[in-house]
């Protein structure tokens, strides 16, 4: 039995649809922002006088950013797969479980794109600002 013809797969119930993936990407963006902010604040307060303090902050930003972008990218991929189920014709505005499923996927994809850009903007600050001052 191919997956497409599996009726359960075709028609995910409300319980089966993962609503949380919709806002997972923006949440990662928020956590990334907080992590960067707190790291820079604490590190600069404790070691702001030393030359290497900001290098450490930059490395931390880089690590957070790679992790965040990987997670957001993965979520975006899930969303993309989900909205493509059966056919990738938008819009998904029929009142059916399948269209709800695909709508959630499409919204997840778009929000992941937005979150990825926002995360990069946060990281850009550390590229241009070179010291704790």
């Amino acid at each position: 039995m191919s997956r497409i013809s599996d009726p359960e797969y075709m028609q995910p119930t409300e319980e089966q649809d993962r609503f949380w993936i919709l806002f997972a990407s923006p949440t990662i963006w928020a956590i990334h922002l907080l992590a960067c902010y707190i790291t820079a604040a604490i590190w600069c307060a404790k070691f702001g006088e030393t030359e290497s303090a900001f290098t450490t902050v930059r490395i931390a930003f880089a690590v957070y950013t790679v992790v965040a972008l990987a997670a957001i990218g993965w979520l975006g991929w899930i969303g993309y797969q989900q909205q493509r189920r059966v056919t990738d014709k938008t819009p998904h505005d029929d009142d059916t479980p399948l269209d709800r499923h695909r709508f959630l996927g499409f919204a997840t994809l778009l929000l992941s794109g937005l979150s990825a850009i926002a995360t990069i903007y946060v990281a850009l600050v550390a590229v241009f600002i070179g010291s704790c001052d």
């Binding site: 850009l124 600050v125 590229v127 241009f128 600002i129 070179g130 001052d133």
Partner: protein, 336 residues
């Protein structure tokens, strides 16, 4: 058609021209970020204009497309081509433009935040409700103090050390550069680089209580020789009164207890709560840039302090009669 014409004409002479003139009037003058006289302000004005031009182009494009879609070619549009517009104009273009703008403006930050070279002029400024305590530093040590007025030599970087003993204020000289908050318990810094001479206006840019709007200061950017002369005058102790009137004024200053709050260097008045009055007569304005500096204003300030500045932290002196008030004002005026 004629009616429309005359309505339009009436409308523009009554509203459009005055409003445009009023708005453009704000672009020049001693307190304009669009008429820069310092490096930071020049950078900020450039960013502003680039954003204005960019925003105008985008606005015209979007409105143009809306007119095209609604008026020039109503009805269904080619699905594929509309999709290109939606993705290209709605997703890709904003991302590219915003990224460009973010990078462009971020690139200015290090320059705006940079510390000046070692040995540059340093001035400590404290924001208080509702005036500015200005202390010129020499090798990091206090040299002399004044209030509500700052003089700077043109073409030299200056570093301001900013703080506040009461509430949050914000130090801003729009013609010279960006603004920086003055936060109780912390010292913030701002480097400015005036590029032309002139008299400018600084303001408090963070609401700090009843008379926040009456908390301004004068900034004089001058040639190095004039600046050095001003420094020498400000460093020196107060001028001794020589006339009968001003001598009486000094006695009244002492007997009224002004010295509990105010300092006049060279006399017993050494209060630390209020503006240093050693050279108050030399200032451009009185009361943090709210009154002109003349005898009548001194009288008004002493008698009607709270009218001039609501909630001011200086008591009004109603007990002085008119002659005494004049003498006191004459004494303060003579402190140049």
């Amino acid at each position: 058609m004629n009616r429309v014409h005359s309505v339009l004409r009436r409308w523009s002479t009554r509203w459009l021209f005055p409003i445009v003139a009023l708005m453009l009037g704000g672009c020049a003058g001693p307190q304009s970020a669009l008429d820069p006289a310092g490096q930071g302000a020049e950078d900020i004005a450039r960013i502003f204009w680039i954003m204005v031009i960019g925003a105008t182009i985008i606005w015209i494009t979007v409105i143009g497309l809306a007119i095209y879609a609604l008026r020039l070619k109503p009805g269904p549009h080619h699905r594929r081509r509309s999709g290109v517009w939606i993705i290209g104009g709605g997703v890709i273009a904003p991302t590219v433009i915003l990224t460009g703008l973010v990078i462009y403006s971020l690139a200015f930050l290090p320059q705006l935040l940079a510390r000046p070279p070692e040995g540059s002029l340093q001035i400590k400024v404290e924001g208080l409700q509702w005036w500015w305590r200005v202390t010129y530093l020499e090798n990091g040590e206090p040299d002399f103090e004044l209030a509500n007025e700052i003089h700077l030599p043109v073409g030299e970087p200056v570093e301001f050390l900013l703080s506040s003993p009461d509430v949050i204020h914000s130090f801003w000289i729009p013609a010279l550069g960006g603004k920086v908050d003055m936060i109780p318990g912390r010292e913030t810094r701002l480097t400015l680089m005036p590029t032309r001479t002139g008299t400018f206006r600084g303001v408090c840019a963070e609401y700090c209580g009843a008379s926040h709007a009456l908390m301004n200061f004068t900034v004089v950017v001058e040639e190095p020789e004039d600046y050095q002369q001003w420094l020498a005058e400000q460093r020196s102790p107060a001028r001794q009164p020589a006339e009968e009137l001003t001598i009486l004024g000094r006695e009244l200053f002492v007997s009224s207890g002004c010295g509990a709050c105010h300092s006049v260097r060279g006399t017993d008045a050494n209060g630390r709560i209020a503006p240093d009055l050693t050279h108050v007569g030399s200032r451009h304005k009185l009361g943090a840039d709210v009154l002109p500096n003349d005898r009548a204003s001194f009288e008004r300030w002493i008698r009607h302090t709270d009218d001039v500045k609501p909630d001011v932290l200086m008591p009004e002196y109603h007990s002085l009669d008119a002659a005494e008030l004049t003498a006191l004002a004459a004494y303060l005026e003579s402190l140049d």
